[in-house]
Amino acid sequence: MALSKAEAELRKKGHFFIEGEAAEQILAGIPDDYSVIGPIREKLAVKYGPIESAADLAYGVTSTEDRGSYRLEDTGKHTLGNARPINSPKRFTHKPEEVLYETSRTQQGNIKYSTGPTRIEKLAFFGLKPCDVNAMSVMDLTFNKNFHDPAYDRNRRNNIIIGLNCLEPGQNCFCATFDTGPTLKDGFDLCLTELDSGYLVEVGSKVGAQIIGDADLRPASQDMLEVKEERAEKARHGMSKAFNLSKAVEALNENYDHPYWEQPSERCLSCANCINVCPTCYCYQIRDKSNVSGSKSVRTRTWDACQNLAFAAVHGGNFRPNRADRLRQWVNHKLNWTIEQYGRAGCVGCGRCITSCPTRIDITEPVWRLGGEGVKLDS
């Protein structure tokens, strides 16, 4: 069948269409030695977790979020993109706990160091939300830019990223603030958009083209791309929490000592849920643990959080003993200071911290309270 000029152009750009179900075909194209991570359904929530086949994917559910609340419901529709995973995919690249190395004492009394784990992981992520794909790029700035963190690199080096655009953002989503969603522009091998009769597939790399076997695929139509753009635009404007980032930064800087900070802090639990569900929070602590006889010791790194009182403690304790200090530090680090450090915000607007806060603290609230109407998204 001869392609029209427009269709040939879309094929060249790597825009294809798969009618009906796409997951099976794509998963079949992922090399066998890869472990695949995708959105899976548990009783109470959708999570990113290991999958064996397309049957494991969390089809037909939607999540409803509020401050401090997440509820899962069946939709009766065979769609994938309507539930937001409650956990973040960082646990697969920046693992909650990672052994760095082990030491042992020889009979002569010398100390022997092991090299630690050396296995290079092969991880493929299927159905990753645009915010989460962008979060990986943010995490890379810390672990994989100016130097390569060996533990992170092992998990991150071989990733295959198959994104899934969001056309129905959740109530706590505000990725429009950072342009980290609702659709992906780059950073993927394949990017899917769920349309009424099938999947729009954008190819972002050679690996992606190989996975999907693009030679035999039907190119997308201009209409499909327009539908995608239209829905993405609607999604973008449907995020009531999204704000104008540069105005927000001004407001945060001008009000560093504002008494407002006492208000959310009064109910902050310092439980660190916000940090541990954040796909870009990277802080960790290192602990040495030895056996009783002292013949062996393991050095492990574990997620740490700036809301923990023992975080970064030195002699005399934490520099931020008050909850207000710690909360303000975190909000500024996510929304403000990382821009100066890395040229982009540390937050991607996934909203998980809002969903997961038992006392309903909302990271966007300081922005609105300190910046007022002036921080509106399109202002």
Binding site: N87, Q108, C268, N273, V292, N308, L309, P358
Partner: protein, 267 residues
């Protein structure tokens, strides 16, 4: 390197009013027991030894709360003859479930169970061993985590300060990739105000945290209680939630007392 013959530290595993579960948690350290016995001379351990010897001790791990008056004197004697005294478990640290008497009328309670309550030598108020003597370190939990017990012993043997985490149980839940019961299931859970160490044992089994490790180091109990209230818990429910094995810990006590007040006002 020639091995120097060192005298092993003399150790007592002691018990006051309690269920012996902490000592059991120590005996459960099967993998590490050979090392522990190689490093320590445990001379007093009634749960595990036939013959037991008096002080002085280099280390005492003490289980149980002080619930009857004679225990006060025994504890003071033990403190005198012990270099490092460690409170082991929720009873020794906070008073345990025995401290529930602190919130009730003890005379009535005695009468309800005994025909001749005047023969009972029971304190009207129960606390951990820190109420009566200085304590060098505390290992919380009901029961305490075997891994934490081994960690503290390993640090003692090697002359380091133990470093048990005092952050929230939520951290352990997130490390374990548990779905939050508060957020996704409207279940009352003390995890956000309770010290970690159990590996989020209860939430991992779909039950809210009972707070048996006691308050975390930055516990904001009142803020969590207000969440419980919004979730539909009555003042009575909240009092009971904060009155389990560690009701006597200050950060939990202030909540249960405040809500007991509310309960009275509602009645």
């Amino acid at each position: 390197m020639t091995k120097q013959k060192k005298t092993k530290p003399r150790v007592a595993i002691y018990k006051f009013t309690s269920c012996s579960g902490c000592q059991q948690a120590l005996l459960n350290a099967e993998h590490d027991l050979p090392d522990i016995l190689g490093a320590l001379d445990i001379v007093y351990f009634k749960e595990a030894r036939r013959d037991n010897f008096g002080g002085p001790y280099d280390l005492a791990l003490v289980e149980g709360s002080i619930s009857v008056s004679e225990e006060i004197e025994i504890l003071k004697e033990l403190r005198k003859e012990t270099k490092t005294l460690i409170a082991m478990g929720a009873c020794a640290v906070y008073g345990g479930p025995q401290a529930l008497r602190n919130w009730t009328n003890m005379d009535e309670l005695k009468k309800s169970s005994y025909r001749t309550p005047e023969h009972l030598d029971t304190l009207n108020w129960t606390g951990g061993i820190g109420t009566y003597v200085p304590v060098d370190y505390s290992i919380p939990g009901c029961g305490p985590s075997t891994a934490q017990l081994v960690e503290v012993i390993a640090n003692f043997v090697q002359g380091r300060l133990p470093d048990l985490p005092r952050h929230s149980v939520c951290v352990d839940c997130k490390l374990a990739d548990n779905v939050c019961l508060l957020v996704a299931d409207n279940k009352s859970c003390l995890g956000p105000v309770t010290a970690a160490g159990c590996g989020a044992a209860c939430p991992s089994n779909n039950r809210g945290c009972y707070g048996c490790f006691g308050p975390m180091n930055a516990a904001n109990g009142m803020a969590l209680a207000r969440v419980f209230e919004k979730m539909g818990n009555s003042a009575e429910d909240i009092v009971l939630l904060f009155r389990n094995q560690t009701s006597n810990a200050e950060a939990f006590r202030e909540v249960s007392l405040a809500y007991a007040q509310k309960r009275r006002m509602a009645a």
